[in-house]
Amino acid sequence: MKRLFSVALGILTAIGGFVDIGDLVTNAVVGSRFGLGLAWVVLVGVVGICVFAQMSGRVAAVSGRATFEIIRERLGPRAGLANLGASFLINLLTLTAEIGGVALALQLATSVDPLLWMPVAAFGVWIAVWRARFRLLENVTGLLGLTLIVFAVALFMLAPDWNALAGQALQRGTPQDEPVATYWFFAVALFGAAMTPYEVFFFSSGAIEERWTEKDLATSRLNVLVGFPLGGLLSIAIAGCAAVVLLPASIDVTSLSQVVLPVADAGGKVALAFAIVGILAATFGAALETTLSSGYTLAQYFGWSWGKFRRPAKAARFHLSMIICLFVAVAILATGVDPIVVTEFSVVFSAVALPLTYLPILIIANDREYMGDRVNGRGMNAIGTVYLVIILIAAIAAIPLLIITGGGA
């Protein structure tokens, strides 16, 4: 019974934890422009994150080493440092976007200027990282994030023409009125949003925080394999809502109020309240994960003491670097830059950084010295390699597409 409960809890947390500001904004933007025409990208991304998240969890549980310790060891100090620099900066950009997202969600709830909420959001994240237990953080934000199901409920309440939606989802190629490059630019952005690298840093370091052993792997695999696809369905529901309400009205998504507009349309104030709670929980949870990931990557590269299971004074440089990252994120936001724009850039650059994280994981998952007889099977390697090719293509195409399309304008 207890085990059943823990599995159920894990799955629910994975669903709520899958969606972050990147998924929210990108899915709404894509839905408002292409309908469900890019829903297939979310499916591809979800399978990819399932494959690599459980792979990195298995590596951490079996070898006891987290992702960035392994990246440094396999790539050496120089390539490892280049990888750290890129991964860390993109993670910092994502952190900035998430803090901005928390502030925007609070603005939706209170009408107070987000600039005033940003330091509050960052302080809240810091207090949680400083004092709360790892498990507690994950469960509370994950469960509250489940209220995002209101997007799926709203989609049904809007009583859309399901045949038309299915038609959009199954349509081959680009819609008539959008250039091909724009279509692929948003495909790459959506892929980056679904597969953001911090999820892997967080997952593998979390496995060590919670002292997983090989026994826990079955539970974790179930959480990932059930929770993430359901989280992906939430993403598609967000795009679907935008497709039904925003696309016909040609409303561009430039702020969170447009993201939640369909929900308010369908379910009024109560539904809107649920959506705001969900967005707040999802962005706050992701802000915690990215803050921790910034500490994890630095500490693991340099070999510092890290982990939330230790007292802060016993992982001093780990905690200091997270505090500095939060200050930097607030400083970036204080320049008045639009958090939605930061989010859009963060998902594109995440796509660029994907191979840096995923290639070393695939290599180490085949290393018998680390994994003993728990190395990847043939099927897992086949899927992993296919994904590596997709990831590489997305990473190479991301910046040229960003420039050609002017950020999808």
Partner: protein
């Protein structure tokens, strides 16, 4: 290799030692192996056919990371050494037989802990 426990097991210094995580006896991370100190070998000199093999005498850390990436060599007085005698076990991490607090390699960690993190309220308590 002068570690008695490693007898019968060939270790590649580059593959199994360099850039590997170093843990103290309580599994607290100390540092990463940034470089190794070898004795019995002269840089650039020809190696005598029957010369004794070089020995690893210490794990180096601190500024050795920077010099390994960017080149150059710090003066020996600047080196942060963990004598090889302290190594107890080599696996997917290198385990020392002593507490990390006693080592020079953890100086920066202790400084940040004593002067910044330990002074913030709650910094010395377990998470709740």
């Amino acid at each position: 290799m002068n570690d008695r426990r490693a007898i019968g097991r060939a270790l590649d210094a580059h593959l199994h030692l360099l850039d590997r995580q170093v843990l103290d006896r309580d599994d607290v991370p100390v540092t990463t192996v940034d470089d190794l100190e070898l004795v019995g070998i002269e840089l650039g000199a020809a190696i005598d056919r029957d010369a004794a093999p070089p020995r690893v005498t210490a794990i180096l850390t601190g500024s050795d990371l920077a010099t390994r990436i960017f080149g150059g060599r710090p003066p020996p007085s600047r080196r942060v050494r963990i004598p090889w005698e302290l190594v107890a076990e080599i696996g997917t991490a290198i385990r020392l037989g002593v507490a990390g607090d006693t080592l020079d390699a953890t100086w920066a960690e202790r400084w940040v802990s004593d002067h910044i993190i330990g002074r913030i309220p709650g910094g010395r308590h377990d998470p709740e």
